[in-house]
C-alpha cells in the first residue's frame, strides 16, 4: 500500500520536474555566426562579430519578428547568449553582436556615438531587412525591436531616436544625460558637477562591472578587459581617442572640462527622444547608483512628448546593488509582454499594416514602481512628477494632464538640526548656521555607495564622518508617507574657499535607530561662486516612510564615490526659516499590510500545518492500545501455506513451502545450508516479502510491522546492536520502539537469562561474540513472547550455557510458549525440541514429533561375540547397507528387512548374538531424508 502510494507520488514529482526542464530546454535552434561590415560612412569602418539565432519552424515561408539584443559595457555578445536563446525559444529571430571595441568586433569604443555604434545598429537592421526569416513591414523594413541593458540600454534609446524602422524598444538601466550621470550636480542649471570617480574609473578600467539589469540580459560575469593582456599597458585601451582624453582629463580634475559637451552630449539620449516613434519600455533599478531613477524619468517624459507609447517601470536593484543580484521573473515577464504586444510573433498583419497583436489596444500603464517596504507593486496612470520648490506646477508632458494624486510635504531647516513642518508654529524653526569641515586631501570620506563591484557593491554600511556632516531630522511620521519623484531642497551656502562640494542624502530613520539611505541616492552639489542660494533637485525617490519613521536630511562634505576637494575648507550651511526648505512629492499610500510575508512561505507553512493535522488525526483514530491484538486460542502460532521466494539473482530460496507450528511445540527447523531456513524466518518476521503464499501468525496475515509482532520474540542471523550503547540501553530502546511500557518487558528475567552481570552496563562493542549472542536471546525474550523464533541460538555459547538454553526452551515449552529453533546442530535439536521440520531446497521434506521422525529408520546395533564374522554375514545379506562399528557392536541399517531377519542370518551362520538394540538418532533420520538428494 505504502509502496504503491510512494510510486505514484514519485511519478508525479518526476513528471513535474521533467516538464519544468522540458519547458526550459531549447528545442531546435540554428545559430549563425557572421561578420558584419558597418560604419562605412562614419569615421571608422569596422567588422562586427554577430550571431543570428533562428528558432526551429521559422523560415522564409513562416517568418518571425526579429530582436536586436545589445550587451552591456565591458562585455560582448556572449554575455547575452542565454537571453538570446530564451527569446528565440519564444519564436523570435534574435541578432546579437559585440559592440565596436568589445569582444571580437573591431574598432574603438565611442560610447554610443551616433556616427559609430548607433550607425552600426542601422547596419544590423539593414541585414535583417534582407533575411527571409524575418517578417517585413515594408521593403527594407523588417519588423524588429531593440533590447538592451546599461550600455545596451543607452544604445537602444539612441538607436530608437535615430532609426525609425525599429518597432519596439526595451531599454534597461539606461542613462539620460551622460555628463549628468558621470559628474552629477544637484544645482539646477549649475556648473559641471562632481566626477563620480568610483563609477568612471570602474567603467574605464573595467574592474568587474555587473548589475542585476545586465544580469537580466544574461550578462553574468565573463568580462573581457578592453586591452589585450599581451599588449603594453595603454591608459586608453580600446577607447576612441576623444573619449579617452575626456576621461583622463576628468580623472585629473575631478570634474568635467574642455571638450566634454561634444563627446558626452552626442552619446546622450537627452534632447533626442522626442523623435522616438517606437513603443518604448524603460526599466530602471530603484537602487541604481550610476544611472538613477531621474535618468529614466526624464527619458520617459521626453518620449511622451514625442507621442510614442511609453511605459516606465522601476524595479528593485540596479547598477551597484546587492541582494537583487539576479533578474526576477517579474522583469522577464515585463519584457516578454512588451515584445509580444508590439511585435506579435504570430505574424498576423492587420489592415492598417500594423499588427493587431495581443492586447495591443489595451491602454499602456505609464508608470509602475515597487514599494520595497511592503513588496507591493504600484501602478500609476501618470509618469512620476518632476516637482518644484516654487510650486508643484511642473508636470511631465505625458499628454495625460495634471496628476490629481500628487501631493506635497515641506519642512523648514532649523539650525538645531530639526526639519520642521511649516505648519508647525510651536517650537518653530531656529535661524542660524552650521559649519562643517571639508578635510584636506578629501579623506576620510563618507561612505554611501560602492560602485562597480556588482554583487559586492553596497556591502559597506553608510557611514558619515563626524565634523564633516550635518543632519536635519523630522518628527516621527504620524501616518505612512509615500515619497515619489525628486525631492527639492533650497539652501544658503557659504565657505572660505571659492568652490564648495557637498553631498546631500535622505535617510529613512526607524524608531529603533536603524537607517536606510533612501534609494542609495547621493546628490552631489558643486558651487563655484560662494556664497550662493542654491535650488537643488535631489535624486528621485520611490519610498514609503512607515509610521513612526523619521526623514533625515544629511549634508556632508565628502563621499568616497566622488572626487572630493583636496584643499581644506569650511562650509557653512545657513538655516533660514524664510528660504531653507525641503519639499517632497507624495502619492497616497496604499493600505499595504505591514511586512508583506511572501505567499510561498504562507503556503508552505499551511501545508506543514495541514500535514501535522492529518498525522494528528490519524494518530487519534488508531484504536486505543495500538498494537494489542488477539491471540485466538485455536489459531496455530505459525501457519505457512505455499510460501515461495525467489531472490533477484534468480535463486529460488523457498519453493511452495507448507509449515504449521502448533501452540506449545518446540520445533526444530532443520535443513542443509541453503535449504531456505533463514529465508523462511525472514519472511515469517516480515523482513522480506514472499513472492507467493501466505504466512499467518496466530491467525493474522503477516506483513512488515504487524501488531502481532508484539507477541513474537526473534533472534535472526546473529545479534545486531548499536555498538556504542550499553547492552541494557539496547534492550530498553528495542522494547520501547514497540510502543509498550517498560514494565511489560519483564526485563529482570531476560537479564537473568543473559547472565551478563555488570557487563550489561558496558557498550556492546566491548562484548565477546557469546555475550552478544546471550544479549540477543535476552532481547528475544523481552515481554515473554508467546512465539519465539530463534536462529542458531547456541552459536557462540559454551557447553554449560548450551545446557542452560536447552533447559530454558524446555521450560518455555512447558509454560505454553511456542518456539521455532533453526539449527544445524542435530544432536542439540534432538535434545531441545519436541517436533522437527526438515526442509531442503526450499521444500518441506518431513515434519513431526522428534520420536516419530527418528523411528522411521531401521538401524539396529548388534552386539555379537565375533564381530568380524558377524559383519561378513551381514554384508552378504545386505550388500547395500551401511555397516559400521558402534561401541561394542555393529550399527546396521536394515532397509526392508527387520531385526529378526538379521538375528536369524547370524544364528544360522553360527555367530552368537548378545544383544540387538534399535538405534534411532535424528542424525540418521536427517541423513536418510536428505542424503539421497545431494
Amino acid at each position: 500500500m505504502t509502496g504503491r502510494r510512494g510510486v505514484g507520488a514519485a511519478a508525479v514529482a518526476l513528471a513535474a520536474v521533467a516538464a519544468a526542464f522540458a519547458l526550459m530546454g531549447g528545442q531546435g535552434l540554428a545559430v549563425e555566426v557572421m561578420e558584419v561590415v558597418a560604419g562605412a560612412d562614419g569615421p571608422e569602418q569596422v567588422v562586427l562579430d554577430a550571431a543570428l539565432y533562428v528558432p526551429a519552424g521559422v523560415s522564409a515561408d513562416e517568418p518571425a519578428p526579429a530582436i536586436l539584443l545589445a550587451h552591456g559595457f565591458l562585455s560582448d555578445r556572449f554575455a547575452v547568449d542565454g537571453f538570446a536563446r530564451d527569446l528565440a525559444a519564444d519564436g523570435y529571430v534574435v541578432l546579437t553582436w559585440s559592440a565596436r571595441g568589445f569582444g571580437a568586433s573591431g574598432g574603438s569604443i565611442g560610447l554610443a556615438d551616433p556616427a559609430r555604434e548607433i550607425a552600426d545598429v542601422s547596419a544590423l537592421v539593414d541585414l535583417l531587412a534582407v533575411r527571409d526569416e524575418v517578417v517585413r513591414d515594408g521593403s527594407g523594413d523588417p519588423r524588429v525591436a531593440i533590447v538592451g541593458a546599461s550600455y545596451g540600454g543607452g544604445t537602444a534609446l539612441l538607436a530608437a531616436a535615430a532609426e525609425p524602422r525599429l518597432d519596439a524598444v526595451v531599454a534597461s538601466a539606461a542613462w539620460h544625460d551622460l555628463a549628468e550621470s558621470l559628474a552629477p550636480n544637484g544645482v539646477a542649471d549649475g556648473p559641471p558637477g562632481i566626477l563620480a570617480v568610483g563609477w568612471t574609473s570602474t567603467l574605464f578600467t573595467g574592474s568587474g562591472l555587473t548589475s542585476s539589469l545586465e544580469g537580466l540580459l544574461g550578462n553574468q560575469g565573463a568580462v573581457p578587459v578592453p586591452a589585450g593582456p599581451s599588449e603594453p599597458p595603454d591608459p586608453c585601451g580600446r577607447f576612441a581617442d576623444e573619449v579617452c582624453d575626456l576621461y583622463l582629463d576628468a580623472a585629473v580634475r575631478g570634474t568635467l572640462t574642455g571638450t566634454y559637451p561634444e563627446v558626452l552630449q552626442r552619446a546622450s539620449p537627452a534632447g533626442r527622444l522626442d523623435a522616438v516613434v517606437a513603443p518604448t519600455l524603460l526599466l530602471q533599478g530603484q537602487q541604481d547608483t550610476l544611472f538613477d531613477l531621474e535618468a529614466s524619468r526624464r527619458n520617459a517624459a521626453e518620449i511622451a512628448v514625442g507621442g510614442a507609447p511609453v511605459r516606465l517601470r522601476w524595479v528593485p536593484g540596479g547598477h551597484g546593488t546587492v541582494g537583487g543580484g539576479r533578474p526576477t521573473p517579474m522583469m522577464r515577464d515585463e519584457i516578454d509582454r512588451w515584445l509580444d504586444r508590439w511585435l506579435d510573433p504570430s505574424g498576423a498583419v492587420g489592415d492598417d499594416g500594423l499588427t493587431p497583436g495581443g492586447d495591443r489596444h489595451e491602454p499602456v500603464v505609464p508608470f509602475t514602481w515597487t514599494d520595497e517596504v511592503s513588496d507591493v507593486v504600484r501602478d500609476h496612470d501618470h509618469l512620476p512628477h518632476a516637482g518644484s520648490t516654487a510650486d508643484l506646477g511642473t508636470e511631465p508632458d505625458d499628454g495625460l494632464g495634471p496628476d490629481p494624486n500628487v501631493g506635497q510635504r515641506s519642512w523648514v531647516l532649523s539650525a538645531d538640526g530639526r526639519l520642521v513642518a511649516d505648519a508647525d508654529v510651536d517650537g518653530g524653526p531656529l535661524a542660524g548656521a552650521r559649519s562643517i569641515l571639508s578635510p584636506a586631501g578629501g579623506q576620510p570620506a563618507a561612505v554611501s555607495t560602492l560602485p562597480g563591484t556588482g554583487g559586492l557593491a553596497g556591502l559597506l554600511p553608510s557611514v558619515d564622518i563626524p565634523g564633516q556632516h550635518v543632519n536635519f531630522v523630522t518628527e516621527p511620521m504620524a501616518d505612512a508617507v509615500t515619497l515619489l519623484g525628486p525631492p527639492r531642497l533650497r539652501l544658503l551656502l557659504d565657505g572660505d574657499a571659492d568652490e564648495i562640494r557637498l553631498f546631500v542624502k535622505l535617510y529613512d530613520v526607524a524608531p529603533g535607530g536603524g537607517t536606510i539611505l533612501i534609494q542609495r541616492s547621493v546628490t552631489p552639489v558643486r558651487v563655484v561662486d560662494a556664497p550662493a542660494d542654491v535650488d537643488l533637485e535631489l535624486g528621485d525617490v520611490a519610498h514609503r516612510l512607515a509610521p513612526d519613521h523619521r526623514l533625515r536630511l544629511t549634508i556632508a562634505t565628502t563621499d568616497q564615490a566622488f572626487a572630493n576637494l583636496t584643499e581644506p575648507a569650511v562650509v557653512t550651511i545657513s538655516a533660514d526659516p524664510a528660504s531653507s526648505l525641503l519639499r517632497v512629492s507624495t502619492v497616497p499610500t496604499t493600505p499595504a499590510g505591514g511586512i508583506g510575508l511572501p505567499g510561498a512561505a504562507v503556503v508552505v507553512l499551511a501545508a506543514i500545518l495541514l500535514l501535522a493535522v492529518v498525522i494528528a488525526r490519524r494518530r487519534r483514530y488508531r484504536p486505543a492500545g495500538y498494537g494489542a491484538v488477539d491471540l485466538p486460542g485455536d489459531a496455530p502460532p505459525i501457519a505457512i501455506r505455499g510460501l515461495t521466494k525467489r531472490y533477484a539473482d534468480g535463486h529460488l530460496a523457498v519453493d511452495d513451502l507448507d509449515l504449521t507450528v502448533e501452540a506449545g511445540q518446540v520445533v526444530g527447523l532443520l535443513g542443509p545450508n541453503g535449504a531456505g531456513k533463514t529465508s523462511t524466518l525472514r519472511m515469517l518476521l516480515g523482513l522480506s516479502t514472499p513472492d507467493a503464499g501466505t504466512i499467518q501468525i496466530f491467525g493474522h496475515d503477516m506483513r512488515s510491522g504487524h501488531p502481532v509482532l508484539h507477541h513474537v520474540g526473534a533472534l535472526v542471523e546473529g545479534p545486531g546492536f548499536s555498538p556504542e550503547l550499553s547492552g541494557l540501553t539496547n534492550l530498553q530502546l528495542y522494547w520501547r520502539a514497540g510502543g509498550r511500557p517498560m514494565e511489560e518487558a519483564d526485563l529482570p528475567w531476560a537479564l537473568s537469562v543473559a547472565e551478563l552481570g555488570d557487563a550489561i552496563h558496558k557498550p556492546v562493542r566491548t562484548y565477546s561474540h557469546g555475550m552478544k549472542q546471550r544479549l540477543a536471546i535476552a532481547q528475544a525474550l523481552l515481554g515473554r513472547p508467546a512465539l519465539l523464533v530463534l536462529d542458531e541460538p547456541t552459536d557462540g555459547l559454551d557447553p554449560e550455557q548450551i545446557r542452560g538454553m536447552r533447559q530454558l526452551l524446555a521450560r518455555l515449552g512447558d509454560e505454553g510458549h511456542t518456539v521455532l529453533v533453526s539449527s544445524h546442530l542435530l544432536a542439540e535439536v534432538e535434545q531441545m525440541c519436541t517436533h522437527v521440520v526438515v526442509v531442503q531446497r526450499g521444500r518441506l521434506r518431513a515434519a513431526g514429533p522428534v520420536a516419530e521422525l527418528v523411528g522411521t529408520t531401521q538401524t539396529v546395533v548388534i552386539e555379537a561375540d565375533d564381530r568380524r564374522a558377524a559383519r561378513d554375514v551381514l554384508r552378504t545379506h545386505l550388500p547395500d547397507s551401511d555397516i559400521e562399528v558402534s561401541g561394542a557392536g555393529l550399527a546396521v541399517t536394515l532397509g526392508t528387512h527387520d531385526a529378526a531377519d538379521a538375528v536369524a542370518w547370524l544364528v544360522a551362520a553360527g555367530v552368537r548374538v548378545q544383544a540387538v538394540t534399535p538405534r534411532g538418532t535424528l542424525e540418521d533420520a536427517f541423513l536418510s531424508l536428505t542424503g539421497d538428494q545431494p
Partner: protein, 269 residues
C-alpha cells in the same frame, strides 16, 4: 519518536556533531580576537555575503557571520551525517532487522528516523547562531548590527536572524532528504553520508558554472544565499520565496523514493 531521539542522542556521532558545530563560532571568535589587527577587510575574496568584514561589529554581527561561514558546507555536512547514517548505520550493525521485527510499520519507523534526523539537523542549524551570538557578545559586545546594507537595530536583527535560520534550515531540506534516501539504500553509513556530501559539492560546482545557464536556476542550492537580502531594509523576499519553492520537488522525489524503496525492500543484512 522519543525512543528514536534517545537512541540518536546517546550516539557519539550526534554528540560530536553538535558539539563540533557549536564550537566552530567559538573558535572563530577566538581567531578574530587574536588577530585583532586585521579587521577582515582587504579584498572581498571568500566573502560573498560581505558579512565577514563586519563580523566584529557586535555579537549579532558575529552570529550572522558564523551562520554565513558554516551554511554553505559545514552545516550541510553535519545535516548529511544526521540524516544519512540514521538507517544505514542500523543496517550495518544488523540492528535494523530487529527494529523491523517490532510491531511498527516500516513507514512509521522511517518517519521517526526522518523526524529525529531533521530535528537534530535543526538543532545544529540553530546552534551555530546561538553559539555565535554568545561567543560574539562576549568578545565584541552587544549592539546594533552593521549589515552590508546599513544598520539594523538589535531587536530587529534578532528577529531577522530567526527568519534567516529558518530559511537556511528549510533550504537544507533537499540534502537531508537526499542523504536519507541514500541511507535507505545502503548498508554502509559512510557511503550514504559521504555520497551526500560529494553530491553537495558537485551541485555547488554546477551552480558556479555560468555556462549552464538556466539549468542552474533549478539546482537546489541556487537560492541558498538569498537570505542575505533579509538583511536589507526593507527585506526582500523574491529570491527567498523561490528558494522555498525550489525545495519542494526535490523533497517529494527524494522522500518519495525513500519510502517507496524502504517499504518494499528485503532486509537481508
Amino acid at each position: 519518536m522519543i525512543v528514536e531521539l534517545l537512541r540518536q542522542l546517546r550516539r557519539r556521532r550526534t554528540k560530536v556533531g553538535l558539539i563540533g558545530i557549536a564550537a566552530v563560532p567559538v573558535l572563530l571568535a577566538v581567531a578574530f580576537v587574536l588577530s585583532s589587527d586585521g579587521d577582515g577587510r582587504g579584498g572581498n575574496g571568500g566573502d560573498p555575503t560581505g558579512l565577514f568584514s563586519l563580523a566584529t561589529a557586535s555579537g549579532l554581527n558575529f552570529a550572522l557571520m558564523s551562520t554565513a561561514a558554516t551554511a554553505p558546507f559545514l552545516l550541510l555536512a553535519v545535516i548529511a551525517l544526521f540524516t544519512g547514517d540514521t538507517v544505514s548505520s542500523e543496517a550495518s550493525w544488523g540492528s535494523l532487522r530487529y527494529l523491523l521485527t517490532r510491531p511498527v510499520p516500516r513507514g512509521a519507523l522511517l518517519g521517526r528516523k526522518l523526524a529525529v534526523g531533521l530535528l537534530l539537523s535543526l538543532i545544529a542549524v540553530v546552534l551555530v547562531p546561538v553559539s555565535g551570538l554568545i561567543a560574539g557578545t562576549i568578545a565584541f559586545g552587544w549592539g546594533d548590527v552593521q549589515t552590508p546594507f546599513g544598520v539594523l537595530p538589535a531587536a530587529t536583527a534578532l528577529g531577522r536572524l530567526g527568519v534567516i535560520v529558518s530559511y537556511i534550515a528549510w533550504t537544507s531540506l533537499w540534502l537531508a532528504a537526499l542523504a536519507f534516501a541514500l541511507s535507505t539504500t545502503t548498508d554502509s553509513a559512510v557511503g550514504a553520508v559521504a555520497g551526500s556530501i560529494v553530491l553537495v559539492i558537485v551541485v555547488q560546482i554546477l551552480d558556479a558554472i555560468t555556462a549552464l545557464g538556466d539549468i542552474r536556476r533549478w539546482l537546489p542550492v541556487h537560492e541558498s544565499t538569498a537570505w542575505v537580502s533579509l538583511l536589507a531594509t526593507p527585506p526582500r523576499y523574491a529570491d527567498l520565496s523561490r528558494g522555498i519553492w525550489l525545495q519542494v520537488p526535490y523533497l517529494v522525489v527524494f522522500l518519495g523514493f525513500a519510502w517507496w524503496w524502504f517499504s518494499r525492500r528485503d532486509v537481508l543484512s
